[in-house]
Every structure is written in structure tokens, then in C-alpha cells.
């Protein structure tokens, strides 16, 4: 290092741009290796017009950094959504969905089976219930133990997976219902299962807060199937075919304004239970 240093007047001329260009290079080269001169130049810059600008930049940067740390954590949705819902939409459940939808259409159109619609309507409401059960909880989610120790691993993950399950199963089953030809046998309309399907799914969520998601799904899904199947097995008129009895039983549960209003009320009630007890789902090993 030479004995030359940046004195105060050189620094000042450097700051206001009156220093000759070769001298500027010398100053810049020198301050890279000489701390006292670097400090002198820096102070001169700070005192000049650039200092105000630098101060503003610093203040706005600090404000932005602080704002960022204080802002609530937001995930970019698309890819992250897939991570969260991915496990919900695979495996045995997706297969069951396809088998029920394609099976009903195949039976009706291929084998001319009159009870196809009743069969679809009997099974459709439990498909989303089963989907929620296989996508969340310690028995079926391999990552549950880790997820249970995280802030998003509780109710929010459960709801995301429920929405994903519904988003896939409702359209598939609805389309299958529309593809079924009209039958001679009594059976409710093809869309009448939608409200019960939603209500049963929410009932499984609500009950899950008490007994765990797997048991809740088994109780709700099993309860529905029993309620549909048992009266048919002990039917009064022996001349009726099983398909006819199933259709009549389902009409009782699904057709008409009273039935649909009751399902809507049940849906609202279950949603309210989940909302009121929302903290339970985040808390210690309840699911």
C-alpha cells in the first residue's frame, strides 16, 4: 500500500463529482484496502445529497423486511395444495370411486340391471366419507406423526383433504348418475344423494372430533348402509325384487322436500359442531 491517502478535500470532490475521472479510480482502488480512507469517503458520501437517498433506501428496506417477518405465513397455493391433498386422492379409495361409478353405469347399460340407480344412490354418500377416513389420521397417513406436531397438521389439513375428496368424488358420481338410463323401478332422482353425501361427510368430521376419524367414518358410513339395507332384507311384500325394495327405501330417505330439508339441516348442524369444536382437531392425538 502506498503512502497516498484520500484527504478530506479529495473525498468532498469525489462526492460532488468534481474530481477528475482517473483520480476517482485511484480513490476507489485505494478505499478497497484502506479502512480509514474508506470511512472518510463513506462519511463524506453520507453528508452529501446521496446520504439522504441512502437513508431513504435503508428505511424502506428495513420497513419491508420487518413487514415480511410480521406478515402471516402464506403458502403459494397450487403446488402446495397438491402436496396437502395428494395422499387423499390415491390408492384404494380412488379405485373404489371408479368401481362404483363405472360399475353402476356398466350394470345399467350393459346388463340392463334395473336396480343400478338405487345401488349407486345407496353407495354414493359413503364414498366421500370413506375418502376422508383413508386420507387423514394416524392409521392411514404415513406422515401423520410428523404432521401432528405442526400447526397446519390438524383441522386445516383435514379440511383441505375433505375438500379434495369432495371435489373429485362429487362430479364423478354425479356424472355417473346422469349417465344412468331411466328405470321402471321406483328410485329417487340421480342428484338426490348430493346433500346426504355432504351431510354424512361432515357428520364423520364432527364425530371424528370425539372418537377419531377412522372410527367416525366407520360409524357414519356403516350406519347409512345399515339404515338402507336392513329394511330391504326384511321386506313385507315377498313379490318385490330386492332392487324395488332398495329403491323404495331410498325414496323414503332421499325424495321430497322434507327429506332434503332434513339433510340440509343435518349438514348445517354438523358444520356448526366442527366449527365450535375446531380446537379439538389441532390438539393432541384426538384423530
Amino acid at each position: 500500500m502506498s503512502d497516498w491517502h484520500v484527504n478530506a478535500s479529495t473525498a468532498e470532490r469525489y462526492v460532488d463529482g468534481t474530481l477528475a475521472e482517473p483520480d476517482c479510480w485511484s480513490v476507489e482502488r485505494h478505499v478497497e484496502g484502506c479502512a480509514p480512507c474508506a470511512g472518510r469517503v463513506s462519511r463524506a458520501v453520507g453528508a452529501g445529497p446521496a446520504g439522504v437517498l441512502l437513508g431513504d433506501v435503508r428505511a424502506s428496506l428495513l420497513a419491508r423486511v420487518q413487514g415480511e417477518t410480521l406478515a402471516p405465513a402464506q403458502g403459494r397455493l397450487p403446488t402446495r395444495l397438491w402436496w396437502a391433498v395428494g395422499p387423499a386422492l390415491r390408492g384404494a379409495w380412488a379405485l373404489a370411486l371408479v368401481v362404483v361409478a363405472a360399475g353402476a353405469v356398466g350394470l345399467a347399460r350393459g346388463a340392463d340391471f334395473a336396480g343400478a340407480r338405487s345401488l349407486l344412490l345407496a353407495l354414493a354418500p359413503v364414498i366421500p366419507v370413506a375418502g376422508v377416513a383413508v386420507s387423514y389420521g394416524r392409521h392411514t397417513d404415513p406422515l401423520h406423526e410428523i404432521a401432528a406436531s405442526t400447526p397446519r397438521g390438524g383441522l386445516r389439513l383435514l379440511l383441505m383433504r375433505t375438500v379434495a375428496v369432495l371435489a373429485v368424488s362429487l362430479p364423478v358420481l354425479a356424472v355417473a348418475g346422469l349417465l344412468l338410463p331411466g328405470t321402471s323401478v321406483t328410485a329417487p332422482g340421480p342428484a338426490t344423494w348430493l346433500l346426504p353425501g355432504l351431510a354424512l361427510t361432515l357428520a364423520a368430521l364432527a364425530l371424528g372430533g370425539y372418537v377419531g376419524s377412522r372410527t367416525a367414518a366407520a360409524l357414519v358410513g356403516g350406519g347409512w348402509l345399515l339404515a338402507v339395507a336392513l329394511p330391504c332384507l326384511g321386506g313385507s311384500a315377498p313379490a318385490q325384487t330386492l332392487a324395488e325394495r332398495l329403491g323404495e327405501q331410498l325414496s323414503l330417505y332421499l325424495d321430497g322436500q322434507t327429506a332434503q330439508t332434513s339433510w340440509a339441516a343435518a349438514l348445517v348442524l354438523c358444520a356448526a359442531v366442527v366449527a365450535v369444536r375446531r380446537n379439538v382437531y389441532d390438539h393432541w392425538e384426538t384423530m
Binding site: 396437502a84 404415513p142 406422515l143 406423526e145 393432541w284
Partner: protein, 267 residues
């Protein structure tokens, strides 16, 4: 061997009093009082002693049957405190699964998302965590193509991705080869500089090499608490023929606790 002698502070990240955990008829933890501050804390004990139960309670996964658990000075029964504590902890379970299609990067990023990390800092944090466990070159490999030891290291990466202030590791060295174990212990010491690290292990040598203090758990109770050195000192009085002193100290402390429990009878 490098062992640190820094004492634990009284106002640590973890404070537990009268903690009891029962699974049906068996008692996993029986009125345990403990506190842990910054440093690496080893949990030693025979299989079934209650180490995993303690870690699962501290990870906010298992519900205690009785007693009080405070993390970062907050009682976990309040939803807000619980959520805050969960953002600040890292947990490696004894067994953990993964989604078959996930790469290392996706897996660790998914856990970062679960921990509510900001989306813009997540990619860098994921790469840093994966590099810390020495898997930078396998970051885009599918987890199912990795060896058991590597999967274990992926587990450690997901636990540290949020730079946790409380890190709970249940048997982290299981399945690691000796060289990886040595590397892992140095990572532990590094993490223990800033955070409260609680490591359960059945390998006495892990404790001697990496921990600031040792808690020996036996039949759901704290049988011994002290530094690795003082545990080793217990072993120096006895038979010198085999094993290292820490291991003999472990056996001596266990024997003393059992004798105490059975009222002076045989172990």
C-alpha cells in the same frame, strides 16, 4: 472426545412437572419433573422406559394423562400457545413414513409448509437443511430409492428445516453407520449451541460424545440426571474389565435406581 460442560439454565424452553402418561393399564411416565434449556440433552434408558412417551408429549402429539407441560414458557392448553410452539419445534419420530412419490426436496418442503414457514424463504431453507445432513447431491432423488440411513437423515432434515428452538429427536442414530453417526453428533453439538435439543437414544456413546447432560429414565421415572462426565464417574468405581466408563456408569445408575424402587432389595 469433546464434551461440553455448559450447565442447563433454569428457565429453559421445556418445563415439565408431575407429568404422567398412561396407555390403558401401563404407566409410561409416572410423575416426571424436568426442565431443559439450550444445549443437547440425552435421554437414556432401557426399551420401554418412557423415552418415546416423553418425546411425543413434548412434540405436542401425545396427550399427557396428568401434570403440566410448558413449552417456551406457555401452557399448551391455549390454542394460540400451542400453535406458536408448533411453529418453533422440530420433531423426528422413531418411525416415520413418507409418500412414495416424494423426492427429498418435496418431502422437506411439505413439512416446511405444515410448519407455516413463509413461502419465499422455504426453498432456501429446504436446501440448507438437506445440505446439513449431507444429502445435497440426492435432493431430487425419490425417497424410496434411498438407503435406510439416508431416509433417517431426511428425517433429521425435515426436523431442522424451520431452525427450531426446540428439537426433539427419537432414536436419531438408529440405522446410521459409524461414520454418519460421528458426523451426526457434530451436527447435534452445532444445533445445541442455539437451541434446546432433546435426543433419545439407547447408545451410551452418543450421549458421551454429544450431550451437555444426561437424563436416565427407567420405568417411567427419572433415575439419574447429570453430566456425561458424572455418569462416567459412577462407572469408574466398579469393575474395570470391560466396556467404557460411561456405559458402566449407566449400568450402575440403573442398578441404584432399581434398588431404590424395590426398597433396597435385589435389582
Amino acid at each position: 472426545m469433546t464434551t461440553m460442560t455448559r450447565p442447563t439454565t433454569g428457565t429453559g424452553a421445556v418445563q415439565v412437572s408431575g407429568l404422567t402418561v398412561r396407555h390403558r393399564r401401563t404407566t409410561a411416565l409416572d410423575g416426571v419433573d424436568l426442565d431443559f434449556g439450550t444445549g443437547v440433552h440425552g435421554l437414556l434408558g432401557p426399551n420401554g422406559a418412557g423415552k418415546t412417551s416423553l418425546i411425543r408429549v413434548l412434540a405436542t402429539v401425545a396427550r399427557p394423562t396428568g401434570g403440566r407441560v410448558e413449552l417456551f414458557g406457555g401452557d399448551l392448553t391455549a390454542p394460540r400457545t400451542l400453535r406458536d410452539a408448533r411453529r418453533r419445534l422440530g420433531y423426528l419420530p422413531q418411525d416415520f413414513g413418507y409418500y412414495p412419490g416424494f423426492t427429498v426436496r418435496e418431502f422437506v418442503a411439505y413439512v416446511a409448509w405444515l410448519k407455516e414457514m413463509p413461502a419465499d424463504t422455504t426453498p432456501a431453507a429446504v436446501e440448507r437443511a438437506v445440505a446439513r445432513v449431507g444429502l445435497a447431491d440426492r435432493i431430487d432423488a425419490k425417497i424410496r430409492t434411498l438407503s435406510g440411513g439416508m431416509v433417517r437423515r431426511v428425517g433429521i432434515a425435515q426436523a431442522v428445516v424451520n431452525a427450531p428452538q426446540l428439537l426433539l429427536l427419537d432414536e436419531p442414530t438408529a440405522g446410521l453407520d459409524p461414520e454418519q453417526r460421528v458426523e451426526f453428533r457434530s451436527l447435534l453439538r452445532e444445533l445445541g449451541e442455539e437451541a434446546t435439543v432433546i435426543v433419545s437414544t439407547h447408545l451410551v456413546e452418543d450421549v458421551a460424545a454429544a450431550c451437555t447432560d444426561v437424563t436416565l429414565i427407567e420405568r417411567g421415572r427419572v433415575a439419574y440426571r447429570g453430566t456425561p462426565q458424572s455418569l462416567a464417574a459412577l462407572g469408574r468405581d466398579g469393575d474395570e474389565s470391560d466396556g467404557n466408563t460411561t456405559e458402566r456408569g449407566y449400568t450402575a445408575a440403573l442398578r441404584a435406581h432399581r434398588t431404590h424402587l424395590t426398597g433396597g432389595g435385589q435389582a
